[in-house]
């Protein structure tokens, strides 16, 4: 418990620091989402979403079903029509506007009988030389490197259909990481994976954030895990209801309105349990 509070306090400190300096002008890498709105048919899915996301931080987006979380990620990716702008500034302040974005979808519906190996999928994404011929040793080595980053290099020749849910998520994560993105978008990447797989996935993501100073945006319904791993939490329901550290957000009245008090208590019970063990 003590530990958790300490980290949270540190995070808070970093935040206030950051907003004072206003990252984007002080040559720190960051992403600004300005006035994002999405309308589909007659339904307003997102309404004037403004977010300031810092590099090297894990930002978790939480909210009820149908809150527009996945839509927000797809709008950032540019796959969904939206109004508003995405402003990106890298650490040197050189490149702005078009960041490299890695994306791990909620799930990947595909034909399980398809004769495509992990190697095929990677080579097809990374090179232009038709994978139905052959690939050079260099390409193969590169793919193995990319898989090693998430510790699944042993799966390189496995057929996609033969992967378990957790393995597939890691393959997709490795794919989203090559080339190394400026922003990594994870859409509830843990659905359908057992507890151990979830922990492994989150640990990997945490390591990435530290090692590569990457902006990570994560959608999750798993509030205990959000409390544990996220540096910053955004409560979204068509618009941004509140943002801050997990403790700040979880104590916010809007959070109670969305998730209720019962769940709120539950989270911290869980958190305590984890800390003791």
């Amino acid at each position: 418990m003590m530990n958790m509070h300490n980290t949270n306090n540190n995070e808070k400190f970093r935040h206030t620091n950051c907003s004072k300096n206003s990252c984007c002008s002080s040559h720190l890498c960051c992403t600004k989402i300005n006035h994002f709105s999405v309308v589909r048919g007659n339904t307003q899915i997102l309404q004037d979403v403004n977010l300031h996301i810092h590099c090297g931080e894990l930002t978790a987006i939480i909210g009820p079903n149908g809150a527009g979380k996945s839509t927000l990620l797809k709008a950032i990716l540019g796959q969904i029509k939206h109004t508003g702008t995405l402003q990106f500034m890298d650490a040197k302040g050189v490149r702005d506007g078009k960041p490299i974005i890695g994306y791990v979808p909620q799930q990947l519906p595909f034909d399980r009988s398809t004769p495509v190996s992990v190697m095929d999928l990677f080579a097809a994404c990374k090179t232009g030389w038709p994978v139905c011929f052959s690939y050079s040793k260099n390409v193969r080595q590169g793919v193995i490197e990319a898989l090693r980053r998430v510790r699944i290099e042993n799966l390189v020749d496995r057929k996609l259909g033969a992967l378990s849910g957790g393995e597939l998520q890691r393959v997709l994560l490795a794919l989203a990481l090559s080339p190394l993105p400026d922003i990594l978008l994870l859409d509830e990447p843990i659905s359908g994976i057992d507890r151990k797989g979830i922990e492994m996935f989150y640990n990997t993501v945490s390591e990435l954030r530290k090692n590569y100073d990457m902006t990570i945006v994560l959608i999750s319904h798993d509030l205990p895990l959000v409390a544990r791993y996220a540096d910053r939490v955004v409560l979204l329901n068509k618009k941004v209801l509140c943002t801050g550290t997990s403790v700040e957000v979880f104590k916010h009245p809007e959070f109670e309105k969305t998730f209720g008090r019962f769940i709120f208590d539950n989270i911290f019970d869980n958190g305590r349990g984890d800390d003791i063990s």
Partner: protein, 279 residues
């Protein structure tokens, strides 16, 4: 050029069927056309386009009908034009995502088939019945030239966009998130299928052309672990069935297209029986 090939065939294959020029033409055509179908087959099956390619065949009948109405000597150009328009339309409908795609394809393929049949039967059906069953033995050296060009084009397209096509076939939104223009890739591939199906329909026949586009890869899938094996097996099955079907049809006196399809089907059932060992 053709004479050299004829001599080569006679020397390498000194059998009774190689005495006839039409058989030699058909043999060369098979050598060119089966790789086309073997290669395309892999991605048609991966993209679940079986139903689509079937309806392209049907729509060709309206193309024939239009050719008849326009008084064209050979309706191949009106067929190509019509099937390309048809396929572009289908891709657009598929991407608007409002109506069920298979329903809309079905509606249009029956309409186009009906329109084609009405026009053709008015003009005299017998003259055009080859489009239904196909007549590979009637292929001319000039048409063989068209097939050769088609094969080169397909291989070029594979070099240019196979990888993108593969990622799209695994999952379109994954491809989209990696900056690929999914709509464009689908459009190009669909048009390629439309052109290949339409061009070869008079030699293979509308009724069975789709099986040549599906069976080789469907059979290869049963025993392949990765994309390379998939292509090798699909090509082999397509080629062996093609050559075998041509020779068998000569001795049996059966129609070539159907005999080839039958061999493909045999391969499918054999590989299906083996598939547990390769899963």
């Amino acid at each position: 050029m053709m004479d050299v090939l004829y001599q080569l065939i006679e020397q390498c294959l000194p059998y009774s069927w190689t005495q006839y020029t039409f058989m030699k033409n058909a043999f060369i055509a098979i050598i060119l056309i089966t790789p086309i179908f073997g290669i395309l087959s892999t991605m048609v099956v991966n993209n679940k386009m079986a139903f689509f390619s079937d309806s392209i065949g049907h729509s060709a009948l309206t193309g024939v009908g239009l050719g008849v109405l326009l008084g064209l000597n050979s309706p191949v150009w009106s067929m190509i034009l019509f099937s390309v328009i048809f396929s572009v339309f289908i891709v657009i409908v598929k991407n608007t995502n409002t109506i069920s795609t298979d329903t809309i394809i079905s509606v249009f393929s029956s309409t186009t088939m009906a329109v084609g049949l009405v026009i053709i039967t008015k003009a005299g059906f017998n003259k055009y019945s080859t489009y239904l069953i196909g007549d590979l033995l009637s292929i001319t050296p000039a048409e063989i030239g068209i097939l050769a060009i088609l094969l080169v084009v397909i291989i070029l397209i594979w070099f240019l966009m196979f990888n993108k096509l593969l990622v799209v076939s695994v999952n379109p939104s994954l491809a989209g998130s990696r900056g690929m223009n999914v709509f464009m890739i689908e459009m190009i591939f669909t048009i390629v299928i439309a052109v290949v199906v339409t061009v070869s329909i008079r030699w293979i026949g509308l009724l069975i052309i789709n099986s040549l586009l599906i069976l080789p890869a469907a059979a290869a899938r049963n025993i392949s672990r990765d994309i390379r094996q998939y292509h090798v097996f699909s090509l082999l099955i397509s080629f062996v069935s093609g050559v075998g079907g041509l020779i068998l049809s000569y001795y049996w006196g059966s129609t070539t297209g159907a005999t080839i399809t039958l061999l493909c089907a045999v391969f499918y059932f054999i590989t299906f029986a083996m598939h547990n060992r390769f899963a």
